[in-house]
């Protein structure tokens, strides 16, 4: 018995009988909010999907399904932080939280594709293992302790100036200008932005700290 399209059943008069039955038994498993006619067994008949394979068995949640890329508040174009191929990435944000990072099909370099690391970028941002609090270890201490950010930066600035003063070299033994400190060094830059590298190089060079290095060397 192949029922015609959904809803055009001509058993209108049976509907209230069915509702009565439903009210009576109070039995309505997961489709409680929907009418008795949504019960898959009934839908197997109404939609003709007798074997209960497709439209007869879909749940409310399935019918309302939508990808989080479509329900995101905004999409931002970005670049993968891992290797130097520079694959384009699209970052989907909802309620000020990154919900998805995937390839950017517009990129002529990567054409929307990503490697395993690039695909794990969302977990890099949202991983529970990520450290978001400042930590401080006092000399000879065996444990970390918490510190607020402003104090930490202040302490670093003090130590920077103090070390610079203690290890300053104005001239070499032949009286040639040096104007530098060998007491401060830095390592890192290949994972940073050009603008960040620029400020670091500008600040350290002005301060005389020549030992700035990064992964390009190793």
């Amino acid at each position: 018995m192949t029922g015609s399209a959904n809803g055009s059943l001509n058993w209108a008069d049976t509907r209230n009988l069915v509702l009565l039955l439903q009210a009576g038994t109070g039995y309505a498993p997961e489709m409680a909010p929907r009418s008795f006619l949504q019960w898959p067994v009934v839908r197997q008949l109404s939609t003709g999907d007798l074997l209960g394979r497709g439209p007869a068995v879909t749940s409310a949640k399935t019918e309302a399904i939508a990808p989080r890329t479509a329900t995101a508040d905004r999409v931002v174009q970005s670049v993968c932080p891992y290797c130097a191929v520079g694959c384009g990435q699209r970052v989907y944000v909802k309620d000020e939280k990154v919900v998805q990072i995937e390839g950017d099909p517009d990129s002529p370099i990567s054409r929307g594709r990503l490697c395993p690391k690039g695909s794990a970028s969302e977990q890099l941002v949202n991983s529970p293992g990520r450290q978001t609090k400042v930590l401080y270890r006092a000399p000879r201490s065996t444990e970390w302790e918490h510190l607020d950010l402003a104090t930490a930066v202040e302490m670093v600035a003090d130590r920077f100036i103090e070390t610079r003063r203690r290890t300053w070299q104005q001239e070499d033994d032949q009286g040639r200008l040096l104007r530098r400190t060998m007491g401060i060094a830095s390592l890192g830059g290949a994972t940073l932005d050009n603008e960040e590298n620029y400020l670091i190089k500008k600040l350290f060079t002005a301060a005389g700290a020549v030992q700035t290095e990064n992964q390009a060397r190793i």
Binding site: V85, V98, D172, S186, G189, A190
Partner: protein, 899 residues
């Protein structure tokens, strides 16, 4: 690479380390290109290549030299290209002695200084002396070799006094570069390749035939390399050898040609363009050195003379613009544009020298900015012990990497060498923002700047480096505000006023605008510059990095251009912005013949349009756009104006591609095979075993294994090489904290051949301990046919593969021993990179001992091998055979002549 007809991947494992870039190799392969992977291991790149050729780690120059020899001997080199565009026809000065004459050394080697005086390698000149470097007329040999040390050069084009060279267009004169190259590689034969690299002769034939069949007018071959070439004590010469081969075959500056550097990090190219490196200023200008650049004039002259050809002649404009950008009005003509505000170098201050400085208590403060040296740098133990000498350490990262927690759970705590309670170092861990929590630009491996927009604000205490260093700079300037001390002037006069948003985060685009540069005077003062040709040496322009000028042209951010790739041609110029001047293939003038016509219809790229009187094509021409092919200005004019119509290499001092490098390299004008710092094989080509100019650090904590069959070499009989896996990222800071990546490759392992496993009784997927002269680590054993024993130098050499992503710590999802602990410190003299791709070790089944017994095991091996600080550290292997008598001064060594 997609346009290549043959792609040779050597010194790289592209499918694993640059998987998405590899789609273009797959594209080429689908169109019928041949892909050949030359690597000690059969890797995932080899799995999809047409041919994998196993090679003994460290013997690349023998193979490339043999290819050069094959190309010349069989007359397969690209004649018109080589004669017109390279310095093949240029004559070299008569003082020059080749490695063939001096048993592996070149002329000008000073054993005490362990460096060359490169003046004897200069071009011949009308007069009798070689064309020297500008500003070097009256220098002694000793100073010359000191000057030759890498730290005096920016990595830009090495300078020449002038470009009036002698040439023999017939290439017959024995002093022409061509004949010198031919003679230099005459003994690099297929049989030599078989004996030194372990490559079968038929494999070599296949490789040579495939490359030469796919070169010339109609077809191009492309090489791709990564740290597999660079991380050697002879690294720069590996790449030079490929450059010589590609120049001979005409494979430079053309679509599907060239030597593709596959760089490792998101913006490692950016971090050398705007370098947080000790020897460079932005735009590859050299950092001034005491004794060499004591005055502004000397500094400018050292970079490039006004008479040499090419754009380096305008170095004054670039430098002054940089100084104006940094110090604004405080930089004026009177004080040489504040040149004396710049600190001076007194030698090489690379990261390894710095760590040795820490061990000598010379360094008090250390910033780690997204780098994990405790696992990523060579000689991990020295890195961690060095940090224990610091007064304060600031680590800025996303996760609690091993370099931040070594004082608590590092290997030295476990082995008892360090006690947490005795470590004085103060450690600050400041959480950093990820790439989606800050705006900024990355420069990827094709010099393309791509802008990232900020998606969300950083969580918790996380800050971007931009904000942290801006704030640190502000606090330091506030604390020094009242200072009258002259040393603080550079900090106080710094231009440091960037607009900030409500969170205090400086506006990255303002910084990019400063990098791009702007006019300071004249009608359009304050407006951004649009090309580096607009830079002036009179202080009317400011530019933070001259090669990036143009990224902010007309006031909007070209790095943020996002015209979809599908709507553009293959070069896709409107996606991001490539330095310099948005060119995508450098030296692309060479894609046309001397008359300006494309070499072939198939490989058309840039050509001369007679009517319009300018160069046109698919890319921004890398050539003065209106310079006719036939034009031949007199070289004495100097600078860009002196570039002839057939000088595609506009950055070289003579406008030509250098087969022979008279300047710029400190360990030889021509790539010459030397064995690695530690190698079980003797150098069969020359008496000289290792590279004479390599930088070694003879220290008790940096011993090397005996090499070349010396006594004790059998204690560390096997060769090991380190490499990456596609599932992890360098020292693991961004992958071993992620469950999804950690479960793909959870444990440290070593890859060994079945023969080695049988020889040492290693059980598949069981444990093994690997011992080197520096340390011992444990790893699971992967017995696989992908590792092949090679017959080299008359005996079988086993190679062991070690991924280096794991580190000892308790914070990551997965941890393990660090392969880099096994490595010593031996550096390439040109760029100070460490040798991590080949070293000697022993391997035995079972887990490594814990605690103190680990140190005993390493010490026991050192004793049995009889290691001293001198082992493998000699500069000259056999002074007699190499024409070097330490005492006397006969001809082999020009002593102190103006040379």
């Amino acid at each position: 690479m997609a346009n290549a007809d043959c792609i040779v991947i050597q010194g790289s494992n592209m499918a694993e380390c640059h998987p998405v870039g590899f789609q273009w190799v797959a594209e080429a392969k689908a169109r019928g290109a041949k892909v050949i992977h030359i690597d000690p291991r059969f890797t995932r790149t080899s799995a999809v290549s047409d041919k994998h050729i196993p090679i003994r780690a460290g013997s690349d120059v023998v193979l490339l030299g043999a290819l050069i020899n094959y190309v010349i001997a069989n007359d397969l080199w690209f004649k018109e290209y080589v004669t017109a565009y390279t310095n093949a026809a240029t004559l070299v000065h008569s003082d020059y002695r080749d490695a063939e004459d001096l048993g592996g050394l070149f002329s000008g080697f000073d054993p005490e200084k362990r460096a060359y005086d490169t003046s004897s390698w200069g071009y011949a000149e009308e007069g009798e002396g070689p064309i020297g470097s500008p500003g070097s007329e009256h220098e002694h040999g000793a100073d010359a070799s000191a000057r030759a040390a890498a730290d005096t050069f920016g990595s830009g084009g090495p300078p020449l006094e002038h470009a009036e060279v002698q040439r023999d267009e017939t290439l017959q004169d024995p002093r022409t570069v061509f004949q010198i190259v031919k003679r230099h590689y005459a003994r690099y034969t297929p049989e030599m390749v078989r004996d030194m690299c372990g490559i079968k002769v038929e494999d070599f034939e296949y490789l040579a035939r495939t490359i030469t069949e796919n070169s010339g007018r109609d077809r191009t071959t492309c090489f791709a390399y990564a740290v597999g070439w660079t991380q050697h004590s002879l690294g720069a010469q590996f790449i030079r050898a490929a450059a010589v081969l590609q120049l001979l075959l005409g494979n430079v500056g053309r679509p599907g040609s060239g030597i593709m550097a596959l760089r490792g990090h998101a913006s490692i190219q950016g971090s050398t363009d705007i370098p947080t490196l000790f020897n460079l200023l932005p735009g590859y200008l050299p950092m001034p050195s005491a004794g060499r650049h004591d005055s502004f004039e000397k500094y400018i002259a050292a970079i490039g003379s006004k008479q040499q050809k090419g754009f380096w002649a305008d170095a004054d404009a670039y430098t002054i613009s940089l100084l104006k950008a940094w110090w604004g009005d405080a930089a004026n003509e009177a004080n040489d544009w504040a040149y004396d505000y710049l600190p001076r170098l007194t030698g090489a201050h690379g990261t390894y020298e710095t760590v040795m400085g820490m061990l000598a208590d010379e360094v008090e403060g250390y910033f780690l900015l997204g780098q994990n040296p405790a696992v990523g740098s060579a000689h991990g133990r020295m890195q961690r012990l060095g940090m224990s000498h610091l007064k304060w350490l600031v680590v800025r990262d996303l996760n609690l990497i091993e370099s931040a927690t070594w004082w608590k759970d590092g290997p030295e705590i476990e082995s008892g060498e360090l006690r947490t309670e005795d470590i004085e170092t103060e450690v600050f861990f400041l959480p950093a923002a990820t790439h989606v929590e800050k705006a900024g630009s990355f420069t990827q491996t094709q010099r393309l700047l791509q802008w990232r927009h900020q998606a969300v604000a950083p969580p918790g205490d996380c800050q971007s480096e931009l904000q942290f260093f801006f704030e640190l700079g502000q606090r330091i300037r506030e604390k020094l505000a009242g200072s009258e001390d002259e040393r603080d002037r550079p900090l106080l006069d710094l231009t440091w006023d960037y607009p900030t948003d409500e969170h205090g985060d400086p506006d990255a685009e303002a910084v990019l605008a400063e990098i791009n540069g702007r006019h300071l005077a004249g009608p359009d003062a304050g407006k951004p510059l649009s090309a580096y040709t607009e830079l002036r040496p009179d202080g009317t322009t400011a530019a933070g990095c001259w090669i990036y000028t143009g990224v902010y042209a007309n006031g909007f951010n070209h790095a943020a251009n996002r015209k979809p790739g599908q709507e553009q041609g293959p070069a896709a110029p409107e996606w991001g912005w490539a330095w310099p001047a948005n060119r995508r293939i450098l030296y692309n003038r060479a894609s046309a013949d001397p008359a300006g016509k494309p070499w072939s219809e198939r490989k058309k790229y840039i050509w001369w349009d007679q009517e319009q009187g300018k160069w046109v094509g698919d890319d921004v021409p890398d050539f003065p756009v209106d310079r006719a092919p036939g034009s031949n200005p007199h070289p004495s004019v100097g600078g860009p104006a002196a570039l002839g119509g057939d000088d595609p290499f506009i950055m070289q001092a003579d406008g030509k591609g250098w087969l022979f490098a008279p300047k710029g390299l400190v360990d030889g004008p021509l790539p010459t095979h030397y064995e690695a710092q530690e190698s079980p094989v003797a150098n069969a080509l020359y008496p000289q075993q290792q590279s004479p100019a390599r930088l070694v650090f003879p220290r008790a904590d940096n011993l090397s294994a005996p090499s070349g069959g010396a006594s004790g070499a059998d204690i560390y009989p096997y060769v090991f090489t380190t490499y990456r896996l596609t599932e992890h990222h360098t020292a693991g800071g961004m992958s071993r904290w992620l469950p999804y990546l950690s479960e793909l490759q959870p444990e440290m392992f070593c890859e060994v051949s079945p023969e080695l496993a049988a020889e040492r009784g290693l059980e598949p997927y069981g444990w093994a301990t690997i011992i080197s002269p520096r340390s011992a680590i444990e790893a699971k054993v992967l017995v696989t046919d992908r590792m092949r024993p090679l017959a080299v130098g008359g005996h079988t050499v086993h190679q062991i593969g070690l991924p280096y992503h794991w580190g000892v710590g308790s914070n990551a999802v997965v941890s393990g021993d660090a392969a880099n602990d096994l490595l010593g410190v031996a550096l390439d003299p040109n760029v100070q990179i460490q040798e991590s791709k080949v070293a000697s070790c022993d391997i035995r089944p079972g887990r490594r001992p814990r605690g103190k017994q680990l140190l005993d095991l390493v010490a026991d091996y050192q004793a049995r091998a009889g290691l001293t600080t001198e082992t493998s550290n000699q500069a000259v292997t056999d002074p007699a055979a190499e024409g070097i008598e330490p005492a006397s001064g006969e001809d082999g060594r020009p002593d102190g002549g103006t040379g």
